[in-house]
């Protein structure tokens, strides 16, 4: 296909051609970045939590009554919940992966003399936590019952500097182990908290995500042998078969109300609902971005259709002359397709540069990573395809112009 005649025609329609190029370039730039944002959101929404997500329900009560009998109440409550048919595990825990609200976090050190903390980790606490969450242990062991310390007792011990009253051991995630001791086994290693308090790693779990503050490292989680009760802000986490969740939740509420009808239920939900709520904003944003991308592509495609139709109408006579001089329908079709391909290519080249610029801007202002190189060829192909599809209709109409047109108006 000869490109020179196309270029010389385009030179006579400079402004319109540049407008089309500009539109394609802007669309390319915005759509590339929007699709990248969508992929970031999707990645975030699909982060693994490391727990048996579909088997958990949560009930949180407000503490009513005094703090001192909270531990005894916790025992009665847990016993009552274990009685419910279908319940396999129950724990009183302070936090769950991917939930808003309170979370316990702390800096840890690898050396007691260190000034700055090595990493910021989240602290999971509660008896039976690992088996209830369904987190898979990949090395070491779960806690022994005699290793557990009550939260209030631990705080008092910390306060008085009594190391004996504190838990001695902890379990960490594989990701954290790899960050702290790359390539080595974490078992038996020491980490330090605050003013150099030592704790020993006895177990490593495959995955366990943080509740929030994900930017500090999604899986930088630690688990501590600290037991908690409702007064300390813990909620009941109940594990059962996925299809039993609704029934178990109802029975659990009934059982807890029966023990004390005056308690206020702050939260009752399945873990799936909790996770769904945590990512609700990301889901909404993804929807908006998808909508904008589609609208942009449609507007651009319609713009191409509109302009191409006008060009075809304007060049009816020229087309007729070409046909009369022996050009086939296919020649005419190809002419318009090549023209669109050329315009799209220039638009895409400019658009990619723009996309890169917008990405740099977003990286500065919104903590976004760099646009992966794969977006450039994929974006280019997508726009070429859309351009070709959009121009097909007008080009076919051009090809249908009969040669006789050439003779008519002269």
């Amino acid at each position: 296909m000869d490109i020179l005649p196309i270029l010389s025609t385009l030179r006579r329609h400079k402004i319109t051609a540049w407008l089309l190029i500009l539109e394609i370039a802007l669309t390319c730039a915005i759509v590339c970045n929007a699709v990248f944002l969508i992929s970031q959101r999707l990645e975030r929404m699909n982060l693994p939590s490391g727990i048996a997500e579909h088997e958990l329900v949560q009930v949180q009560l407000a503490n009513i009554g005094n703090r001192s009998d909270a531990e005894a109440r916790a025992k009665t409550d847990l016993a009552a919940l274990r009685q419910i048919p279908g319940v396999t595990q129950v724990a009183l825990v302070f936090q769950m992966p991917f939930t808003d609200g309170g979370s316990s976090n702390s800096g840890i050190k690898l050396d007691p003399q260190q000034q700055e903390d090595t990493v910021d980790v989240t602290q999971y606490m509660g008896e039976n936590l690992l088996s209830t969450l369904g987190t898979r242990l990949v090395a070491g062991r779960d806690f022994r019952p005699d290793e557990f310390v009550d939260l209030d007792a631990a705080v008092t011990a910390l306060h008085s500097g009594n190391l004996k009253g504190l838990p001695q051991v902890l379990v960490i995630t594989q990701m954290l182990a790899e960050r702290l001791w790359p390539g080595q086994s974490a078992l038996g290693k020491q980490i330090y908290l605050g003013q150099g308090l030592p704790f020993r790693v006895v177990g490593v779990v495959a995955h366990l995500a943080r509740p929030n503050r994900l930017s500090k490292g999604v899986e930088y989680s630690t688990v501590w042998p600290i037991s908690m009760n409702v007064a300390q802000g813990a909620s009941f986490l109940i594990r059962c078969a996925p299809q039993e969740r609704e029934r178990v939740l109802k029975s659990a509420l009934a059982a807890l109300k029966q023990l004390d009808p005056n308690r206020v239920v702050l939260q009752k939900r399945t873990y799936d609902e909790a996770r769904h709520a945590f990512f609700a904003n990301d889901r909404a944003m993804t929807g908006i971005l998808v909508g904008v991308c589609l609208a942009l592509l449609i507007v651009t495609a319609l713009g191409i259709v509109g302009l191409a139709s006008f060009w075809v109408a304007q060049r009816r006579r020229t087309i007729g002359v070409r046909r009369a001089l022996g050009a086939t329908r296919a020649n005419i079709l190809q002419y318009f397709q090549t023209e669109n391909f050329l315009l799209a290519t220039i638009g895409i080249v400019i658009g990619m540069a723009l996309a890169f610029g917008i990405n740099l801007f977003l990286m500065q202002h919104y903590e976004l990573p760099r646009l992966p190189a794969i977006y450039f060829p994929v974006g280019a192909i997508a726009l070429w395809v859309i351009g070709q599809l959009a121009v097909l209709g007008p080009a076919l109409r051009a090809a249908a112009v009969p040669p006789v047109v050439a003779t008519r108006s002269v």
Binding site: T16, G194, I288, L289, V292, A295, L302, G303, G306, F310
Partner: protein
């Protein structure tokens, strides 16, 4: 003449119905998206107390230790400790001053058989209502003396008053909050500044409903009400927050002149130096930000909302470029008509005006459609899970802005085609015909 142009434009637009519809719909989409996101952005970055925000300042001093401190680089903590709040409060160096924290207030039912419920509470000091212009429906606030004597009083919101007392004056009635009987001394009118500037950093939401109960700080603490957010720089017994090494209070002052602002900043610096001398502080940094600056520091407007606005304007730009292209193609097709008009004596500027009128009509129609899209967009926003969702409504300003944006963008889009049309030489076009 204008009527004539209108007629011509209408006829021209009607000749190419599909194309006209295409231009109007794209312009409408772009305008609808822009207005929707702009409304949300304006709503979220608005001034919560326009009549007063320039005189309200958020004060920061930093009781943290040398851990992680870099002189000159580390910004002061965003909350302050109880000791510092009381020292600053009692120093009376500003026209008014307020220390506050948020809390969950457990409110006992008035009738038997109902269940207790939790409401949002603010533990604060006497100047809160006058300083933040919170209007009273019945009664009034408490005094500084009530603060010190831990008076068992409470101010409640209009919606709590409606819920508990059916909207009648409840001043003098008793409600039970966290197992303590408190006497209601005031009922607020509807008061929910947006953003909730005073709740920043205290563990509350940034937008949405107002709080339900307001009670003296020390009264609340005596009733074991805990702040929603606290941060400790050392091992702490958080049941005794007044003496624990923890920060959990926000501190606001009202200052009426630049001189007073300078003087108060100096006072804060001196206070930090004095505390360093006493061995309580290590870091000398202090900060005093006016209300709007504080909201900017807090990045109260979510990044997503800015991103959406940027995206919408990018979209509008593409729609405008699209419209320019279509209008241009259209006007070039009408070269003959223009040639005839020019030959019959129309001036260049008359041709120009004719095409601008046509572009303006497309713009107005696009604006009308954009308004429909914007209403739909805002309806969608209201059904989003964001905390500001319920606030998203189109106001008069944005309504007018819609048409301004529509007209401006369509006239900008019409400029190039109209100019090109007016430059056509009459002779050559006539010859071709």
């Amino acid at each position: 003449m204008f009527d004539y142009y209108l007629g011509l434009a209408l006829r021209s637009l009607r000749r190419n119905k599909v194309l006209t519809a295409l231009m109007i719909v794209t312009l409408g989409l772009g305008i609808g998206a822009s207005i929707t996101t702009l409304t949300v952005l304006r709503l979220l970055s608005g001034d919560p107390l326009p009549q007063k925000s320039a005189r309200l300042f958020y004060a920061q001093v930093d009781p943290y230790t040398k851990d992680g401190y870099e002189a000159g680089k580390t910004k002061p903590q965003r909350l302050i400790a109880y000791t510092d709040a009381m020292n600053l409060l009692h120093a009376h160096q500003a026209d008014r001053q307020v220390a506050l924290a948020l809390t969950d207030a457990r409110i006992a039912p008035l009738r038997s058989g109902e269940h207790p419920f939790f409401s949002d509470g603010v533990m604060t000091t006497a100047d809160f209502f006058t300083m933040f212009d919170a209007p009273f429906q019945y009664g009034g606030g408490w005094s500084a003396a009530d603060d010190e004597s831990r008076a068992q009083v409470v101010v409640i919101s209009d919606f709590l008053n409606d819920k508990l007392f059916g909207g009648a004056s409840s001043v003098g009635r008793i409600i039970r909050v966290n197992d303590h009987d408190l006497r209601i001394i005031g009922v607020l009118k509807k008061w929910a500044p947006q953003p909730r500037f005073y709740a920043q950093e205290l563990g509350g939401r940034s937008y949405g409903d107002g709080d339900a109960v307001f009670l003296p700080l020390q009264t609340a603490r005596a009733a074991n009400m805990d702040p929603t957010n606290d941060d400790c720089w050392a091992v702490a017994d958080i049941t005794k927050l007044e003496t624990a090494p923890c920060i959990w209070l926000g501190f606001w002052v009202e200052l009426s002149s630049d001189a007073e602002v300078a003087a108060y900043t100096q006072f804060l610096s001196n206070y930090a130096q004095q505390q360093i001398a006493l061995g309580r502080f290590y870091r000398p940094e202090v900060a005093l930000s006016d209300l709007m600056q504080w909201l900017r520091n807090e990045k109260v407007v979510p990044d997503d909302v800015r991103l959406q606005a940027g995206l919408a304007f990018g979209f509008l730009l593409i729609c405008v470029v699209n419209t320019v292209g279509l209008l241009l193609a259209k006007c070039l097709r009408r070269s003959q008509e223009i040639g005839v008009r020019r030959a019959l004596g129309a001036m260049r500027r008359e041709i120009f005006a004719q095409f601008m009128v046509e572009a303006g009509m497309v713009g107005l129609a696009g604006g009308l459609l954009g308004l429909v899209f914007a209403e739909f967009g805002l309806w969608c926003i209201r059904h989003q899970p964001a905390e500001y969702a319920g606030l998203a409504h189109l106001d008069v300003h944005m309504f007018l802005l819609t048409f301004l944006v529509a007209l401006v963008s369509s006239l900008v889009a019409g400029l190039l085609p109209a100019w090109r049309a007016s430059q056509l030489a009459p002779g050559s076009q006539l010859k071709a015909a």
